[in-house]
Amino acid sequence: MIKIEPAAWTVMVQHAESTFPNECCGVMFGPSGETKTVVEAMPLANTYTGPQEDRYEISPEDLLRAERHARQNGFDLIGIFHSHPDCDAYFSKTDLENSCPWYSFVVLSIKGGRFDHANSFLPNADQTAADKEPLEFPESNG
């Protein structure tokens, strides 16, 4: 179960809508513990060098910086988010083959430039399957 607080959710939705029709990406931070609660979201650059309508890539350097940011602020990097422009929020084959089992992956479906729905996934270490994870986010996205 992963819960996203309103301030973080607003950042995620605004980033996903403003980068439409391209895919966007970013990281989510929260306190470590039994329940995953996202208190801060940080947009990161999509570093994929080809067309970005259907691909995203996060540079390891950006992730390293994000991890340091979390350490300095006393919370943890708990998830990754990205958008699917004009497409549902499933975990695709490309998503799976380029995933990492250590984090929750939240996918935001953006249709016609507006947020539509979202899901969270937990990929396995062999990148062969991803379980859906219960996701809670604010009804109104501001």
Binding site: D54, R71, D76, I80
Partner: protein, 92 residues
């Protein structure tokens, strides 16, 4: 003895430590010492063939070992190793 920073999701395998001091003069040796001390980490970092998993990147300070000497990259006592995943995707 270099310092290895442990990403949050892996701290469950390191007795909750966010950094571990491990011996070795190369990246391979330091990671070997780390996974000897915490065997449950091994599966998370290496695949069945004993190779670093495709999504695992290792940095010595600010340098990716892929662009240095990979496993054979020299490590000094004052160095800090970071384990950073590769993450990408796409809708299709």
């Amino acid at each position: 003895m270099a310092k290895v920073l442990i990403p949050t999701p892996l701290r469950q395998f390191t007795d909750k430590q966010d950094a571990v001091i491990a011996a070795g003069s190369t990246v391979g040796e330091v990671l070997g010492a780390l996974t000897a001390q915490f065997p449950a980490l091994r599966n998370n970092l290496y695949n069945a063939e004993g190779k670093l998993r495709s999504f695992v990147n290792v940095y010595v300070n600010d340098e990716d070992i892929r662009y240095l000497d990979k496993d054979a990259t020299a490590v000094k006592d004052s160095d800090t190793l970071s384990i950073v995943p590769s993450i990408a995707g796409g809708r299709s």
